[in-house]
């Protein structure tokens, strides 16, 4: 067992040195470090707070969706957030998407169906840039996974707008936001108290809305998170039992050899 201890010590110290070293250095980075929030989906038992995700969907639909697309999100995915099929159909029907060409080949439009992707606000990137002062609002499907410490970063960014320090010059059409790389962001502050009228009666403070929309976007980025956490638990329990059985078998099989018995007869 001495060698097991050695392996553990060696690996732990290498990882420790590496992490200690890097975090000590990255702490000196230029942009403000995101706030540390608590999230329902964190940790091995984490799962999505369904009410928060539903509110987040409402925030996305009524605020974010006017500029940001969500190209990997289908209306059918709303089932995972606890909506019934009829409600999903109703949500989808509020939007129009391109249909099949008609008999004479003209383009048609039809009401969206559950299998459709949530319609993008702009026809293409150029149209999006033209409407946003030259800046391209990124697709939000994977935004939580595409940023370091995604949930905390997004929450901090959305709620982090403040007046620029006096010595700071802000270019035209930009806002000061200490959490954004470089401190200047093209997106205007998106959330103000009461901008959304929550269906479940929750008070729509900007902190509440930010938290809800980040929960929703985390679901969109990682829709299988809950399945993953559940399966992980079973897999780890299974492996744990298996490993203990292997260990006990090993002890039993090795007992004689450990006490000095020879397996092969000597020449």
């Amino acid at each position: 067992m001495k060698s097991v201890k050695n392996i553990a010590i060696a690996l732990a110290s290498i990882v420790g040195i590496a992490f200690g070293f890097t975090s000590a250095v990255s702490a000196a980075g230029a942009d403000k470090h995101p706030m540390k929030m608590e999230w329902s989906f964190e940790g091995p038992f984490g799962t999505f707070d369904q009410a928060a995700a539903q509110r987040g969907w409402q925030v996305y639909k009524q605020v974010c969706a006017s500029c940001h697309s969500l190209k990997y999100f289908h209306f059918r995915n709303l089932k995972d957030l606890g909506y019934s099929e009829d409600m999903i159909k109703a949500f989808a029907a509020e939007y129009e998407v391109a249909g099949e060409p008609d008999d004479v080949g003209d383009e048609t439009v039809r009401a969206a169906l559950p299998q459709d992707v949530f319609p993008a606000p702009f026809a293409n990137d150029n149209a999006a840039r033209a409407s946003n002062g030259g800046a391209l609002p990124p697709d939000l499907s994977l935004i939580v996974k595409a940023r370091h410490d995604g949930p905390n970063y997004l929450y901090s960014l959305i709620t982090g707008y403040e007046d620029a320090p006096a010595d700071r010059e802000i270019s035209a059409g930009k806002q000061y936001n200490p959490y954004f790389k470089g401190g200047q962001i093209s997106m205007a502050q998106p959330l103000f108290e009461g901008v959304v009228d929550y269906e479940d009666g929750t008070a729509a403070t900007s902190e509440q809305m930010a938290k809800d929309v980040v929960t929703f976007l985390t679901y969109v980025a990682e829709p299988k998170l809950v399945d993953r956490h559940h399966m992980g638990l079973s897999v780890i329990l299974f492996l744990l039992v298996l490993t203990i059985i292997f260990y006990l078998s090993m002890k039993k099989i090795w007992k004689d050899v450990k006490s000095g018995r020879n397996v092969y007869k000597d020449k």
């Binding site: 001495k2 890097t22 992980g232 897999v235 090993m250 099989i253």
Partner: protein, 424 residues
């Protein structure tokens, strides 16, 4: 090499088959009861079988991914997201493959370091060691091309940076790069050939693994004492002793692997790779996967040309020198059996080498950290010192130390050492 025992199964049909193709004898003599193995192997010897298991995990998960993946710049990123969202258990397979690569490298790095510590590369195991290095090089090529396939920002820019290295080669460099790309930039032909080669190379690795195991069979396993097997008392059969020990080790290793896979699947990846490749937008910093960082640090540490001082004459430009240093850092290991002049294999009996071994490990950790940093502030100089020490370890310390080090007395035999330990 232990004698090759024939197997005579009681079952007539099996016996008929075995006479014509002795597969049972193959298992029996390579990992079975007919494989005498030193009785004192410690847990560091587990990592060979772990690396083998990870290769199998990677090949199986990879084949399933290839059924759903589309190697086309317009579709690759979407097809990966489709795997993550709509393919049944696609998220499981993809996270297994992505984290499996990291755990494959973890197992292989520990396996290599074990070899360095216990002198596993010394006679008569030089070819065994070199075959291992060939596997390592093939793994690096495979992993690099695999990382390009999701066609995220890091995929694209990593591919651009690494393939561009070859342009440093005099005269033919640019032609080689054009050949690698299949055009004049990293684009659709690049992605398609990388996919094809990423599918092919694991099977080449599998073939070299067979040679690696064959060479092990011929020269027999080394052991922590580094002394040769002298009598039957020094050995025990591979099965059941080391099969069960490997099984236990695999259980522990897969527990850690499962924790990453299910609870922090993106911890070892870069967030930028969830942004689709955009040839017009360069990421903040381009960093390879963690397992390439020490070599990336060596590559970037060279920022000076070699020429005649105080003139404009340059013999070797900095870029070429960096590329040479990076490749040399691995190719050097092929010569290790002769660079190490010590007669004693195991560091257990080499009190000074033992320190230098750990200095080398620390040096590799430092280079790993440097490789992940932007080259500014103290990092470039730290990288240069780390690189210099890396080469000094193999080219100066190893040859000299073997000559001047006073080694400790070796035990008479493995059996004697084991009984002495058991008596304590």
């Amino acid at each position: 090499m232990a004698e090759w025992e024939a197997i005579k199964p009681k079952n007539k049909a099996l016996g008929w088959f075995e006479e014509r193709l002795p597969v049972l004898a193959l298992v029996h003599n390579v990992v079975g009861p007919g494989t005498p193995t030193p009785r004192n192997l410690n847990y560091w010897w587990n990592f060979g079988s772990l690396a083998g298991l990870m290769l199998v995990v990677q090949i199986i998960s990879g084949i399933v991914l290839a059924m759903h993946y589309t190697p086309d710049t317009a579709l690759a990123f979407d097809s990966v997201e489709r795997i993550m969202r709509d393919v049944n258990y696609g998220w499981l397979i993809r996270y297994m493959h992505a984290n499996g690569a990291s755990f494959f490298f973890i197992a292989v790095y520990i396996h290599i370091l074990r070899g360095l510590y216990y002198g596993s590369y010394k006679a008569p195991r030089e070819v065994l060691w070199m075959l291992g290095l060939v596997i390592f090089l093939l793994m690096m090529a495979t992993a690099f091309m695999g990382y390009v396939l999701p066609w995220g920002q890091m995929s694209f820019w990593g591919a651009t940076v690494i393939t561009n290295l070859f342009s440093a080669i005099p005269v033919v460099g640019d032609s080689i790069v054009t050949l690698l790309w299949g055009g004049f930039s990293v684009d659709n032909p690049t992605l398609k050939r990388f996919f094809s080669l990423h599918f092919l190379l694991p099977f080449v690795i599998f073939g070299v693994v067979i040679l690696h195991i064959w060479a092990k069979k011929v020269s027999d396993s080394g052991n922590p004492l580094g002394i040769d097997v002298k009598s039957n008392a020094d050995q025990i059969p591979f099965h059941p002793y080391y099969t069960i020990k490997d099984a236990f080790g695999a259980g522990v290793f897969f527990l850690i692997f499962a924790y990453f896979l299910f609870y922090m699947p993106n911890a070892m990846g870069h967030p930028d790779n969830y942004i689709p490749a955009e040839p017009l937008v360069t990421p903040d910093s381009i960093v390879p996967e963690w397992y390439f960082l020490p070599f990336y640090a060596i590559l970037r540490s060279i920022t000076f040309d070699i020429g005649i001082p105080f003139t404009d004459v340059i013999f070797v430009p900095a870029k070429l020198l960096g590329v040479i240093a990076m490749f040399a850092s691995i190719l050097l290991l092929f010569f290790l059996p002769w660079l190490d002049t010590s007669k004693v294999r195991s560091a257990q009996f080499r009190p000074t080498y033992r320190y230098f071994f750990w200095f080398l490990v620390i040096d590799m950790v430092v280079l790993t950290i440097v490789g992940g940093k932007k080259p500014e502030g103290i990092w470039p100089i730290l990288g240069l010192v780390g690189t210099a020490y890396y080469f000094a370890h193999f080219l100066i310390i190893m040859p000299l130390l073997g000559k001047i080090e006073k080694t400790l007395p070796l035990p008479e035999s493995i059996a004697q050492a084991v009984t002495a330990k058991a008596a304590k």
